[in-house]
Amino acid sequence: MLDLSTWQAKTVFTALAVLIGFFLFFPVYWLVISSVKPDHELYLLSPTIWPNEFTLKHFKTALFEGGLPLHLTNSLIVSLSSAAINATLAVYAGYSFAKYRYFGRKPVMLFMLSAQMFPFGLLLITIYPMFTDWGLLDSRFGLMVSYIVFALPVATYMLYSYFSQVPNELIEAARADGASDLRIFHTIVLPISVPPIVTVFLYSFMWSWNDLLYSLTLIVSDDKRTVGPGLLLNYLNESNADWGGAMAASLMAAAPVVIGFMALQRFFIQGVTAGAVK
């Protein structure tokens, strides 16, 4: 526990909190006010901290004239599917690593985790020709597969750490009660593992939702494009920079993650801190 009994400590702590808060929240504030400023106010030499005029024009344009709804839909499909598949695979893999002893268990786990050692950009160079050969280039399924490849090792490790802490006696009690291994997993272990599974789901979802590099490279058709590259190519391309549109569209693109995170926050925090203290 922090000891803030002296005024010096309180002052330093408050100043640090304000500074960190400023760096965290000022960009968000700037995003929000820029999205409601009219064009002429966005390009002033002395920018206004509080808008002189408010407009919803950028939101209307983004929603009804650009490809944002389509890109958001694509992102939702890819991110939700990859997060669901990733969480499902990680749950079984993590449980197997944590609770069963078999030949090759540790090497397989290390091999899985080693995928994280390579820079994502480097792996893209190998994934690109593979996807070309397999016909997965420019497909939402291919993009989903690439996200699972990267999120699965960490997700598996997170769930492995959690399942390792599930008391063996609980599993043995269910076994003595007559439950099969799969039944024990589904009726005893899974119901008490909702927080870490939600954590893994959110982690995978955010990984996919926030991606730019893979989506920009592996998807070439505009109708399959996800929201990250969509924003970049529609609003901030070589010949044009529509900052107002970009801000309004970004705000709408961030909304699903923010809403999802707020709704599942309780599980997320529990999942991250699970097992930290007895």
Binding site: E169, A173, A176, D177, G178, I188, P191, I192
Partner: protein, 342 residues
């Protein structure tokens, strides 16, 4: 109800021999306590009876059936774990009925058996609660209830009271004694607490380093230990052990002799020493007497009202039949007469 027979049972974990050639007969309806120091193999033996650990060699029979390869749920046993192992997301009623649901019993039968077990354990008002809403003692009762509803032939208890505070442990000990009388089922109970062993058991199995040291009724083990280990393990405070050379009336061939604290008398002719310290517990006073040539002080039990000053010079004597003698291998040479029988 069923008897249980163990013959030549061994358990190895790789090169480590955890249980070495265990032979044991447990009769129908008997309450048997496995007792021994940590790591002696008592919990492993219980887990093998339960079917949670595989048998390396030997035979394990419940009733007339060899159950070495029979799954746990088909052995007719129910186990109560040290940590209770209650399913945290299920209500008390669901916890207790889980095994019956898996066995395909119909809902009304499950309900009847859960309610009957809950009444026996006085937890019928807790059936809708989740384990986290219960106290330690209540959780313990639910864990026992979960075992009772299965109507097993053998109950297994793995240090069930070790997570409870001292007062609750005494209450639950009485509860176990009541259950034993009421159910009359074969019960096997593992503990390292000899008070639990002495008060609950029909028969105690003393284990050490993967072997059975002695099997017998509690009072028999107390008065007639077969070796030094059992003599020291059973009884609190533990038996005083002295080199035979210090004791004039030690029998021939004795390497060490043993004297229980309650058999020693201060002020009688015997060994000379000095009171090191005393512990006054109200009901008893324990005097620690330093004797020349002895590594550990002798413990002497006195009445609760008897105070002794530290540093006091005393003599320590004992009665003619108080002496236990052991050879160089620790085997009992001269077993004191069974007081319970006399």
């Amino acid at each position: 109800m069923a008897n249980l027979k163990i013959a030549g049972l061994c358990k190895d974990y790789g090169p480590v021999e955890v249980l070495k050639n265990i032979d044991l007969d447990i009769k129908d309806g008997e309450f048997v306590v496995f007792v021994g120091p940590s790591g002696c193999g008592k919990s492993t033996l219980l887990r093998m009876i339960c079917g949670l650990d595989e048998v390396t060699s030997g035979a394990l029979a419940i009733g007339d059936q060899i159950v070495n390869d029979v799954p746990s749920s088909k052995r007719g046993i129910a186990m109560v774990f040290q940590s209770y192992a209650l399913y945290p997301h299920m209500s008390v009623a669901k916890n207790m009925g889980y095994a019956l649901r898996l066995a395909g019993e119909d809902a009304s039968e499950i309900d009847r058996r859960v309610k009957a077990a809950a009444e026996i354990l006085k937890i019928d008002h807790l059936l809708d609660r989740k384990p986290r809403q219960l106290s330690g003692g209540q959780r313990q009762r639910v864990a026992i209830g979960r075992a009772i509803v299965r109507e097993p032939e053998v109950f297994l208890f793995d240090e069930p009271l070790s997570n409870l505070d001292a007062a609750l442990r005494v209450d639950m000990r009485m509860e176990f004694a009541r259950l034993k009388k009421r159910l009359g089922t074969t019960m096997i109970y593992v503990t390292h607490d000899q008070v639990e062993a002495m008060t609950l058991a029909d028969k105690i199995v003393v284990m050490n380093a993967g072997r059975v040291e002695q099997v017998g009724a509690p009072i028999e083990l107390y008065h007639a230990p077969m070796n030094r280990f059992v003599a020291e393990f059973i009884g609190s405070p533990r038996m005083n052990i002295l080199p035979a050379g210090l004791v004039a009336d030690a029998p021939a061939g004795a390497d060490t002799v043993g004297l229980r604290p309650e058999q020693l008398v201060l002020g009688e002719a015997g060994l000379r020493g000095k009171v090191l310290t005393t512990e006054r517990l109200g009901s008893d006073t324990f005097a620690y007497v330093e004797i020349d040539g002895l590594e550990r002080p002798l413990v002497v039990r006195k009445g609760g009202d008897e105070a002794l000053a530290s540093g006091l010079d005393v003599t320590v004597g004992w009665g003619a039949d108080a002496l236990y003698a052991f050879d160089a291998e620790g085997r009992a040479l001269q077993v004191a007469p069974l007081k319970a029988a006399s």
